[in-house]
Every structure is written in C-alpha cells, then in structure tokens.
C-alpha cells in the first residue's frame, strides 16, 4: 500500500569518527528516501556503515561520532538540527527502533509489560487501567499467546523469538510512522527468522508503518523489502526495487554479494532438476567459483571406498560442569543412537539448527567429549614416525576470536602442536610452520603477530593451519565460516577445498547454513534433536528431500519471496 508521499529523505549525509587528529569517514555522502508505507532494506557487510546510518536517523550516534554534513528530513524537519527536546518527543512516538540483541536491549530488572507500557506513558496520556490494557493488546498483536502472562514476565524468562516480538510490540505501540529494524533476525533460528519478518510485514500492511530494515543477509532483505540499498565502505553502491536488484544487478559488488549465495531457490519451484542445475552452474561461473566438480574423477572414486570414520549406535551425553555437591549431576542425552560412516576423501555435511546436537557430536568425534556410549571408529592409519606422522582427527572451530589464544603469537600457536605431538627439532618445527602459513594464504610476517592483529578471515586461516600442521586425515569443521562476511566465506571455502584435494583430507562439515553446505559437501546428513533425519548425496537432498524436517529447513533457508510469509 504505497502512498507516494515521502516520509524521510536523507540528503548528502556524511558522518565521521575522530581518531586522534584525523577524521575517519564512516558514512560518505549518502542520499536516499523512504516513502510512506514502504519497506526499505539496507544491506551491506560489517563496516559498510548501515548501522551508523540508522543511528544517524534516530539521533543516537555515540559521542565520538560526528555529523560532517548533510540533512535528514523527516516530515519537514531536519533531524540533524532540531532541538534535543523536540527530537526526544519524536523518538518513540514517530520514529522507533528495534535492535538486534533482544536479551541485552531489555532492562533485565523490569518486566516486559512495564517496559512496553513505558512507551505509552512517555508519549500519550491515558487512564491507569488503560495503559495496561493497551499494552496487553499490543503484545497480543505481535503474536504472543497469553499476553497477560507475558506482561508479568522478565526478559530472561522468554525465548529469543518471543523477546523479539515483544520488542516489536514496544516499537509499534505508539503507531510510529517509521520503524528502524537493525538486524532484527540475526540472532534467531532460521524458522523463527521468517516468522519475525512476516510479523514486520504484517505491521507494515496493517498500520502503514514505513520500515527501514537493515541486514547483512540478502535473503532477509529480499523477503519483505520493496526497495533495497546496497552499502559498502560508507557509500551507496546501488539502489532500486528489490526484485530488479536481485535478479539483475548492475554493480560489481552487488553481483559479488549475490553470487555468494549460489542457488536462487524460489519457493514455488517445481522446476526440474536440470533447470536448477543450469541456474546453479551459471551462477557459479558468474562468480568465478568452481567449487564443485560435478563429474567425479574415477581415480578419486577409488580413494573413497574406504571408510575413515564409522559411528555405530552412538549416544552422547552432556553434563553441566560438575556443580552439584552431592553427586546429582544433571546429564542430558544429546545424541540418540546415531549410525553413519564417512568415506576417505569425501566431505560430509551435518546440518541442523541450534540445539540439534551437532557441536556435541563434533566434540565426541574428536574426543573432547568423553561421555559416550557406542562406537566411534576412526581408521585413518595414523602411524608414528619422524617423517610421516599422522595425528588424530583435528577440529576447526567456529569463532576465530575464541579459538586462538589471545596471548600467544601466531608462530607459537602453530608450533605448539608440533612441540607436543612430534619429536622434531626446533629448526624442523619452524620450517614446517613457515610452510603451512604459506599454504593457507598468509605470510611469515603474520607469524609474529597476535590474533587480535588479524582479521576474522585471517584468523580462520590460522585456525585451519593449526589443525592441519599435524597431518590429520580427518578434520571436523564446526561452523567454520558462520561468523565471517559473505565474501570472505567464499575465500575460506575455496581454501578448504584446495587443501582437501592436495592432502587427500576428509571433512566433516557442520553448519546451519544450507547454502554453505551445498557449496562444499558431497553428502549431507540432517540432524534434528540428536537424531539423523535424512542422509543423502547433497544434490539429492536439496532437490528431492524426503523428510518433512528437511523440507522445512529448505523452505526457511530459501530466498523467501514476497508472497510467501505466514506468521
């Protein structure tokens, strides 16, 4: 329902951070408009300036950040120059914001009801009883069942999805003209994500509220936005109606972002496999990624005959770190009676949402979690010896910030496994370290640095190097690219693929991100609540899923088209 009246217009906005004497430009001369009733998406990777743009509009820039030039016109007023008092009046009543992390964005000591109601109390005058009634109504409107109970509850007592709904209720209760949503779904499960986006869309349709939706995830933008703006390094590189932007991008950067998602699944796709294949291959070629070899090499086929990992009737438990004094340890069973095997040289993907048990499984395979029943058989032919030494399975962790010891130099981190597992002398160790750091695409310069001096992508390369330096045959990767920007993801995946080929490695690749799984895995295994639900060749799974849960996952992960969402 678009009315062609302009609600917000940003003109030549530039914003900078003062760093010692210099000014670093964070937003560089951007201009865009938001019309009444419209949903606009701002998409970009971290550092693109999208959050700063949002904060500039609502006037919440941190004190170190200064407006350098430009105007932000809202309803005829320039928000950058109006008085504080008036801006405060606008905030909450005409413009409100929904934040990413709903747990920390609520005051932990006040009830949900009190905080949502506060919005009303600040901007309107009602009778005492009316406040509560209106608040409960607002909570119901966002799809929270038993709103009277929610009213009394504290933020930590709600689930992530419920809290996010409450935040939306809080932002909408005063019927503002504009709502800014900054990564509102990033912290949520894929299935919850689509529900929240649907909710936002419903609010827009019902009340005519304009929305600025900010995200790094293109699929989120594509799902509900009318128009989209792509930002990079503080500038707008491309803008336009979402459909056009996504199906026919002009700018190189936009193309790169899109290509990092290989398959433009559409919900109503009853397209035949061949057509999907074609689209897929075309996209790959466009982005220059040739990650998958469609026709398996016969020589490699032979290598794949042997099972390197065999899991049989595996049960894995997890207990709270021994707190109870009197032996009553709460032990949960996370993995139930699992059986599967992995062949040498292949990449097995393990897909599941958070809570499915995939990390616990990973830890059990490498031996970090010893509370298991059943069989884990690793047949990697590890032999002792000076020259050819093979090691137990290694693991690459998700968070490159947490998986490297912040107080040690990179060189030390890489040398440590050699110190512990081999009998090599110092010179030989250093030689190996130098060798492996180059293998992962970094230089010996990096060896002298500390993890905090490297970027996320670089750190993950180091993590990969650390796990490979002891020549394992089997590597478990637990969400290794999930916290990286989309363009960096593609680089790391390519690195993994190259290394696999070179050293004949076997990967068990865990992720919740189906698109990443699709890019790199030969076979895929879907886990739900600790059990294998389905296990197939990757393409088979994606195009011809059998199990209901798999279908659900695929549906949620797909680019959600405009007409699909139900709350």
């Amino acid at each position: 329902m678009t009315n062609y009246e302009t609600l917000l217009s940003v003109e030549n906005l530039s914003v900078g951070v003062s760093d010692k004497r210099k000014i670093n430009t964070v937003i560089d001369n951007i201009s865009f408009e938001v019309k009444k009733g419209e949903i606009i998406g701002i998409v970009g990777e971290s550092g693109s300036g999208k959050t700063m743009t949002a904060l500039s509009v609502i006037g919440l820039l941190p004190p170190s950040v200064k407006i350098l030039s430009g105007k932000v016109n809202f309803h005829g007023k320039n928000l950058l120059t109006i008085e504080d008092k008036e801006f405060r009046r606008l905030r909450g009543s005409e413009i409100s914001m929904v934040f990413q992390d709903s747990m920390t964005s609520f005051n932990p000591l006040l009830t949900i009801g009190a905080q949502v109601e506060e919005m009303l109390r600040l901007h309107s005058k009602y009778e005492k009883e009316e406040y509560k009634a209106l608040t409960i109504e607002a909570l119901a409107e966002v799809g929270l069942s038993k709103p009277q109970e929610i009213y009394q509850k504290y933020p930590h007592q709600l689930s992530g999805g419920m809290r996010q709904r409450a935040m939306i209720a809080m932002a909408m209760i005063t019927r503002p003209k504009l709502v800014i949503a900054d990564e509102p779904t990033t912290a949520l499960d894929v299935t919850t994500q689509s529900k929240i986006l649907g909710l936002l869309k419903k609010m827009n349709e019902k009340h005519g509220t304009s929305i600025i939706l900010i995200s790094h995830d293109l699929r989120v933008i594509q799902s509900i936005c009318d128009r989209a703006i792509v930002m990079k390094d503080g500038k707008i590189v491309e803008a336009g109606p979402t459909q056009e932007l996504f199906s026919d991008p002009e700018n190189e950067y936009t193309k790169k972002l899109l290509a990092a998602i290989p398959v433009p699944f559409s919900k109503n796709s009853i397209m035949s496999n061949d057509i999907q294949n074609e689209i897929f291959i075309r996209n790959l070629e466009r982005s220059g990624n040739t990650l998958k070899k469609d026709i398996p090499d016969p020589a490699e086929q032979k290598n794949r005959q042997d099972d390197i990992l065999m899991i049989k009737n595996l049960n894995v438990f997890y207990s709270e770190n021994g707190k109870r004094l009197l032996g009553k340890r709460s032990r949960k069973q996370v993995i139930h009676n699992m059986t599967f095997s992995v062949k040498q040289g292949e990449t097995l993907g393990i897909v599941g949402e958070s809570g499915s048990g995939k990390s616990t499984l990973a830890k059990a395979i490498v031996g970090l979690n010893k509370e298991i029943e059943g069989i884990i058989n690793i047949n990697d032919g590890a032999t002792e010896g000076l020259v050819s030494f093979l090691s137990k399975p290694q693991m690459v962790f998700q968070d490159p910030y947490g998986s490297l010891n912040p107080t040690k130099k990179i060189g030390w981190i890489l040398e440590e496994p050699l110190k512990l597992q081999t009998k090599l002398k110092k010179k030989e160790r250093l030689a190996k370290v130098n060798e492996i750091i180059r293998e992962v695409g970094l230089s010996t310069e990096h060896l002298k640095r500390y993890p905090s001096q490297l970027s996320g992508g670089q750190r993950q390369r180091v993590a990969i190097a650390a796990s490979l330096i002891v020549n394992p045959k089997l590597v478990i990767l637990d969400e290794p690219v999930s916290s990286l920007d989309v363009t960096i993801q593609a680089q790391i995946l390519r690195l993994l693929k190259d290394l696999q080929k070179k050293y004949n490695l076997t990967y068990v690749f865990i992720s919740h991100d189906l698109n990443v799984i699709f890019q790199i895995c030969d076979r895929v295994c879907v886990i739900y609540q600790g059990e294998i639900v389905e296990m197939k060749e990757a393409k088979e799974l994606f195009f011809r899923p059998d199990h209901e849960y798999t279908k659900e996952l695929l549906k949620s992960a797909m680019l959600i088209s405009k007409n699909c969402c139900h709350i």
């Binding site: 609502i58 405060r88 909450g92 920390t104 964005s105 005051n107 932990p108 000591l109 506060e118």
Partner: protein, 315 residues
C-alpha cells in the same frame, strides 16, 4: 523457598565451622591455662582442682560441646586479665555497645555520603573534575584509618578544639555528648570506606550506562535523568548492596584500630588487650561474636538479593 533453605543451611554450617575453628585454634596454644590463671606458685593440688572445675581434663569434643553450650547462653567462662574474677561474658557485654554504635554510625555515614557522591562522579565522567575526584578517592583509600584518626584528633581536637580528645563518655550518662564525641571516630572509620564505595558505585554506574538497554531507553525518547533514575540506578545499586555487606567486615576491622586511637572502651581494645594478656576465653568469645555477626549479615543480604534481582532463581 529452595533458595532460602539452601542459604540457611550454608549459614548454619558456616557458623558451626567457625565455632569449631575458633575453639580448636586456642586449644593448640602451648601453655597451661591452669598455670596462667593461678600463677607460678600454685601447688599441684590447686592446679588439679582448677582443672577439674574448669573441665579441662575432659576430651576435646566434650570440651567443645560444653563451650558451645555456654556460648549460646552467653557464658564464655572467666576472664583472666583482671584481678577480680570477671566473667568473660560480662566484660564483652559492657564493651559491645560502643563498638556497635561505632559500626552503625560509620555505616550510616558511608551510605548517606557515598551514594550521592557516586552518582555525581559518574555524571562528571571524562571531565577534569573526574580526574580530580579519582585522585581524591584514591588518596583517602590510601590513608590508614588509625592515622586518619590521629589526624582528626590533631586537627579537630587539638587545633580546632571541636572536641576534647579522650573525653569519651558513656551513652547512658549523657547520650548527646556520647554522640558528639563518637562522630569523630566514626568519620575516621568511614572515610576510607566512603572512598571505596564511591569508586565502586561510579564504576558500576558507568558499566550500566554502556549496556544496550540504555540505548533502547534513549530510543524511546527518555530524558537522561529519567533513564538514570528509573533504569540505571536500580541496576547499578544491586552489586553495591553486596559490596556494602562485604564492607561490614572492613568496618569492624577499622573499628578495632580506631578504638585504639580514641581510647574507646570497645570490643576492639578489649580484643587487643586480651591478646596481649593471653586471656583466651575473652579472645575466643570476641572472635566468635564478630565472625558470627558478619556471617549472619551476609546471609541476610543473600536473602534480600532474591527480591531485588529477578534473575536470581527462586523456586
């Protein structure tokens, strides 16, 4: 309920452990208490009789139980540092009032002064005034309370003559005079603690201000003052409550030292003289009292915690 019961159990166990430790500690002291009490000239029969009467010949656990039974009634045996046969319990009761008053007055001073000062200094963050305030608080934390007591005596007593040093008067004789005198030792005890509390409150407030929910509150259009009062203050004060409870132990320690400076007839001075005179019955009793009070107050604070912080699980 479960939370309360659990804390109650911890309380009782702690108290028991304390009593056992206190009792046992003084049993390993070399030396014969009979000899101590009766002197070197006592005959063997006299010493034996003393031991019989005092129950010193019984085994350790039995002696402990006897002692504990007495302690719960307030009877700690006889003090040995004075000529007259005084019951340790009586001595302590006399001195208790002074120390309690000192502690209470100090605590009140701390609470009343630190909270506004803490809020004020948090508001002035990053100003030159802020550095100055930090300097002042660090300074006062560096002053030993007994030295401060001496300075107060020097400046307010001797130079300014606002009070006469040494003119302590019992509360039941002249309550007004008592208070007017006690305020000075109370200040000596309180000042370093005020500095610590201001620093702690300030950092607690500043930490809260950085949190996300403050940003949410701003986005709702609230004024800074409203945010401070309705949101930040309550959250920031919670850790301060535990801090103040811990402070109690410090106040008692400070009291012990300050009593010495101002010559107050309180538990602190009694403790010191008892140690010097090896009057172990009294030492045991005082230690037991003070430690128990601290443990009980910590327990009460734990209880209160579950009402002020909803995140603490109460089943």
């Amino acid at each position: 309920m479960k939370y309360t019961l659990k804390k109650l159990a911890t309380l009782i166990v702690s108290l028991l452990i304390t009593s056992v430790l206190t009792f046992t500690a003084f049993q390993i002291i070399p030396g014969d208490s009979a000899l101590n009490a009766l002197g070197m000239d006592a005959t063997k029969e006299q010493l034996e009789r003393y031991r019989e009467e005092m129950g010193l010949n019984k085994s350790l656990p039995i002696r402990y139980i006897n002692w504990l039974k007495g302690a719960l009634k307030g009877d700690f045996g006889y003090s040995t540092q004075y000529q007259m046969q005084m019951k340790a319990g009586t001595l302590i009761k006399e001195r208790l009032i002074v120390t309690i008053w000192l502690a209470v007055m100090s605590f009140l001073l701390i609470v009343v002064i630190s909270i506004p000062l803490g809020i004020f200094s948090a508001g002035k963050k990053n100003g030159i005034l802020d550095s100055f305030i930090t300097l002042i608080t660090q300074f006062f934390m560096s002053v030993p309370p007994f030295f401060l007591g001496m300075l107060i005596t020097l400046i307010f007593g001797i130079i300014l003559k606002w009070f006469t040093p040494g003119s302590y008067i019992n509360p039941w004789e002249n309550f007004g005079q008592f208070l007017r005198f006690m305020i000075f030792p109370a200040i000596a005890v309180a000042v370093p603690k005020i500095a610590m509390t201001v620093k702690f409150l300030r950092s607690s407030l500043l930490r809260e201000m950085e949190l996300d929910y403050v940003r949410t509150a701003k986005s709702k259009g609230m004024t800074k003052t409203r945010i401070l009062i309705r949101h930040i203050l309550k959250n920031a004060l919670i850790p301060v409550v535990t801090f103040l409870a811990m402070m109690l132990a410090d106040i008692l320690a400070g009291a012990i030292l300050v009593e010495q400076v101002f010559n107050l007839p309180g538990l602190g001075r009694l403790l010191v003289s008892s140690i010097a005179n090896r009057d172990y019955a009294v030492v045991q009793a005082i230690i037991l009292y003070i430690v128990s009070v601290v443990i009980i107050i910590n327990f009460l604070v734990d209880l209160i915690y579950q009402w002020i912080d909803p995140r603490v699980k109460r089943d």
